[in-house]
């Protein structure tokens, strides 16, 4: 049915054969790894910078301001200027801090987001690694970034950082459950954990439409819980400016601070991309059942465009959350998770298992 979507694996395959013609197989793998790494690095930096710009513009629109508008056309180069400023800033070593862990923490956070990015499918056939447990892998890797945050808070030997790290740790550990359960809902529907398999199963409609109300409930739970997991407002207790100056990265300066900042935005991108892949069909165009003609027209839009449109749609929702809701208190935060979201998602899973068992979904 979806035969005329451009398959990127033909492009990557031709690059592979071209490289194989020039060197031995070991060097081919090495070169491909270096190439993929460079592409990811470039994408990471560009997306991160663009997301910071987008956040400032969205915030400005919500608050009826103009936002960055001086550097470049519509202020597009503002974040690049900021980056250069951050690169030139002095790295302040903290006396009486644990220097090794202090320097290690930003790298742990950033490596975790890189690991998660590797398994995301960006377009048809454009995926660095396609694990048969893709969803589980991304969950596992993203749960590691909390270690970096905890270390950062502890190693800076400052009260604000420590409190920020503790809050963030409690928050991430508890909201991880809801994120996992809401993703599991769609895994139950599609019967596979492989990300490409989940996308293929949405060829006749996205799960958010096919899965009746339970899929929609788990989508909402996923949005709330993942916003909390990436420490963004209204759940940004870990860096509540008015109480903790900047939370766990209070003592960081220059490029190390930029690492945390960038990792936070990239985590937002990863969460949004995962949500788009699982619930909104990833790169799969908008298909309705067996309306062949309609589906054919939709296939003319490239799969990359579909993927990034959906991802940025979810990113905009997450940003909308941040600039409209006031920050929660820590006890309200934990009550929300343990008393409301977790029971709802547990019940939801049972409901979905029942629906799948009876074969009521499309």
């Amino acid at each position: 049915m979806s035969s005329n979507i451009y398959d990127f694996s033909t492009l990557t395959g031709s690059i592979h054969t071209w490289l194989s013609g020039m060197m031995s197989s070991g060097w081919v793998i090495f070169t491909e790894m270096v190439l993929v790494g460079l592409i990811f690095l470039l994408m990471y930096a560009l997306l991160g910078l663009f997301l910071v710009y987008l956040e400032r513009k969205v915030c400005a629109i919500m608050q009826n301001r103009v936002g960055p508008n001086r550097v470049g056309k519509w202020g597009l180069l503002q974040t690049i200027a900021d980056l250069i400023k951050l690169l030139l800033k002095e790295l302040i070593p903290i006396r009486k801090s644990d220097a090794l862990l202090f320097n290690l923490a930003p790298f742990i956070v950033i490596i975790c987001s890189f690991l998660a990015m590797a398994a995301l499918p960006y377009a048809k056939g454009l995926q660095a690694i396609d694990f048969n447990i893709g969803v589980f892998y991304i969950m596992a890797v993203s749960s590691l970034s909390v270690v970096g945050i905890l270390l950062a808070g502890w190693a800076s030997n400052s009260k604000y950082s420590l409190i920020g790290a503790m809050r963030s740790g409690a928050q991430i550990v508890s909201y991880e459950l809801s994120v996992g359960l809401s993703l599991l809902a769609i895994v139950v529907f599609s019967g596979t954990m492989q990300l490409s398999g989940i996308i293929e199963s949405q060829a006749n409609g996205w799960w958010i439409f096919k899965g009746h109300i339970p899929a929609f409930i788990s989508f909402v739970i996923f949005l709330i819980a993942s916003t909390a997991e990436i420490n963004r407002g209204p759940f940004d207790l870990a860096e509540a400016e008015s109480e903790l100056t900047a939370g766990f990265h209070t003592e960081y300066s220059g490029i190390k601070f930029a690492f945390f900042f960038l990792a936070e935005y990239m985590n937002m991108f990863i969460v949004a991309a995962l949500g788009a892949t699982i619930f909104l069909g990833g790169w799969m165009p908008f298909h309705v059942g067996n309306w062949e003609g309609f589906n054919q027209i939709m296939d003319y839009i490239p799969s990359v465009v579909w993927f990034f449109t959906k991802t940025f749609f979810i990113i905009l929702i997450i940003m909308w959350f941040k600039w409209t809701f006031p920050r929660l208190r820590i006890d309200q935060l934990l009550t929300l998770e343990w008393k409301y979201l977790l029971p709802i998602s547990l019940f939801n899973i049972v409901l979905i298992a029942f629906i799948v068992l009876m074969g009521w979904h499309f």
Binding site: K96, D98, L101, F131, I133, V147, G153, W154
Partner: protein, 168 residues
């Protein structure tokens, strides 16, 4: 790659027990667990690797770090152990390690002839809950009951006595 991972495991394990700062010990332990997950990835057993990452690295180490954050201070250093204890510990480790190495070296290992089995999620799930041959439903349920008991116990311990702390 194998030598790199095993090197990381060996060095970090040694550092875990020799460092005098408790949080660094936890971080070295994390490195050991991550390198073990790397070994599983090399074996193409991704499910096990992801379980290793979630449970050990993401769960247990985070809990360890959490408790360290709550209880200890950054300037805290462990004292060097007594000489007697040191000698006893090292000798026990050497004897144990020697026994293990001697057993491994004396065992005639053969290259496996069975073909590679695909690790399928569905199969793991079915096997875990099957009551038939090689089924794991009994251990699975026993562990569930154990976890439930542990959770209830934790809640009972953490629960505040209403009569004593009536002001809260």
């Amino acid at each position: 790659m194998f030598y790199m991972f095993s090197g990381i495991i060996l060095i970090c394990s040694l550092l875990t027990i020799t460092t005098r700062r408790i949080l660094r010990a936890a971080v070295y332990l994390l490195c050991v667990l991550l390198a073990t997950a790397g070994l599983y990835f090399m074996l193409k057993y991704q499910f096990m690797a992801a379980v290793q990452l979630t449970l050990y690295a993401g769960g247990i180490v985070v809990l360890i770090i959490f408790s360290i954050l709550l209880t200890s201070h950054i300037t805290h250093r462990f004292k060097h152990p007594d000489l007697v204890k040191l000698i006893m510990g090292v000798s026990t480790a050497l004897v144990g390690g020697g026994l293990v190495i001697a057993t491994i070296l004396s065992h005639p290992f053969q290259t496996g002839t069975t073909s590679e089995l695909p690790v399928n999620m569905t199969e793991i799930g079915n096997q875990l809950l099957s009551t038939g041959k090689n089924g794991y439903v009994l251990p699975f349920e026993l562990i569930s009951i154990l976890l439930l008991a542990a959770m209830i116990a934790a809640i009972v311990i953490a629960k505040k006595d209403k009569n004593k702390n009536s002001e809260i």
